[in-house]
Symmetry: C2
Subunit: 285 residues, 2 copies
């Protein structure tokens, strides 16, 4: 109890891999305690006893809760003993998932450190997706558009670029093409068969607001049509018509973060894949 009272609002994350999983978990959890200024300490790639000791020095200096993921159970045990000696709580959020899997399926985990970062086919596909996405940003069509998984079409300021980067990071080859009033979309887009094409829209109010902020940041007065609500509204209506005409699903990004837009896109991609598989299983349908 005495030890617990000594704990300040510090969170230590300790991993023998990149610490990415812990960082995601801490982010998801800490957002629920907004009024508390938790200080985060990341200790990644911790792979020997000397590093464990260094981590523990840091924990002693700024005591707080410790989250860990270890593939190496020996190292985890070393840290556990040190933390126990000062009654510092050590939590492995993946443990319960591992335990459930081994209870239910009677299987035992391997002990591959950072196994998810192995240089396998999936890994190289992700790298390919990143390179493809970078080379096909903002209407640039540097490579075959037909090998994209996703093509995003939208008026300026509907977050096409950051959404593309987010998807690329998840291994999804994404091209993005701006919709500009008066300029036709590239012919290629009407000829692709493989990619899922998605139209992005937002309310005129939202677009105008972001565009105004952008012009202010760039210290430019800019084209008045660019921030005129009626022109923007007109532009969006025209974009929507083209999306409808081509049966492209539409996502309104007004109240969505990049992550939420991306989640919706991945869901549409899964649905299509599922449908495709069903059709393959039942070619008569």
């Amino acid at each position: 109890m005495a030890a617990k009272n000594r704990l300040s609002h510090n969170i230590h994350m300790v991993s023998d891999s990149t610490g990415e999983t812990l960082s995601t978990i801490a982010k998801a959890v800490l957002v629920q305690y907004k009024d508390l200024p938790f200080k985060q300490f990341m200790h990644s790639l911790v792979r020997n006893k000397r590093q464990i000791d260094m981590v523990f020095d840091s924990i002693k200096q700024d005591p707080g809760i410790v989250l860990c993921t270890f593939s190496n159970s020996k190292l985890k045990n070393d840290l556990q003993i040190l933390c126990d000696s000062l009654s510092i709580p050590l939590i492995d959020p993946l443990e319960i998932v591992h335990k459930s899997l081994s209870n239910i399926y009677k299987i035992k985990a391997d002990t591959i450190i950072g196994g998810q970062h192995e240089l396998n086919t999936e890994y190289f596909e992700r790298i390919d997706a990143m390179n493809y996405t970078l080379a096909n940003d903002d209407g640039a069509i540097s490579e075959d558009l037909n090998i994209a998984d996703i093509i995003l079409v939208g008026v300026s300021r509907t977050s096409k670029t950051p959404t593309s980067i987010y998807l690329a990071n998840r291994g999804i080859k994404t091209a993005n093409i701006p919709f500009i009033d008066g300029i036709a979309l590239p012919d290629e887009i009407y000829n692709v068969r493989a990619p899922l094409i998605i139209g992005l829209i937002a309310t005129p109010e939202r677009i105008v607001q972001i565009r105004k902020n952008r012009l202010m940041a760039l210290n430019e007065s800019g084209d008045t049509n660019y921030i005129d609500k009626r022109s923007v509204s007109d532009e969006i209506i025209k974009a929507k018509k083209i999306f409808e005409k081509n049966n492209w699903p539409v996502i309104d990004v007004t109240r969505r973060s990049i992550e939420e837009t991306a989640a919706e896109i991945m869901s549409l991609l899964r649905q299509r894949k599922l449908k495709h598989n069903e059709n393959e299983n039942h070619p008569s349908i």
Copy 2:
């Protein structure tokens, strides 16, 4: 027990937010059971009872373990009751972290759905980082180089671009500049004060191997120097000399995945920040 035997190797992920946390957790866990072909089902943005029922239909159709994160405890409870009715295990990997925090710090979580995706300052900084990174790829210096957090310098095929994208996605403004033998690095790089400049190298064997694969993929014969081991070796030595002369830390990416290189870079960034803060506290040091 009967129910448990019915469970196949399926993992359902259910979230009222994007499902990103669960996807990261599942990836980290499943890599430890490589020989088992677990089938993954993602159910994201599940925000009402009707959607819970749809998710449960999918679970019944492909029974397996269910992982969930919910900010809305009512919805979690609804799903729990449904899963209990068929003895299907429901696991919330964040629960143990929340419980520990509330036990230790006597605090209670808010119930903000997808709070980590809120459109706050941090969020817009991430978007900025993505846009900056995209505009400053592969030697392009479209904006002030001095506002970068990180500048990566390296010979061709040291994963500069995918590493930059990965860092951008974490909110780190990253520019990358190729080191090409015989061509001077841009002057700007010697004048920046704010960014941390990092040199990337790899063994000649590794570089030659990747370059050969790349030429094959592009169906090109290419410049022989580009894949000549002695030339490549020479190029790497020259790059190293410049890195050393400027006191830029060097990362050897030969045996590292993008995530591991990025983890090392973030660690260097943290160390420098820490040092900076210490110097501020003790200006005499």
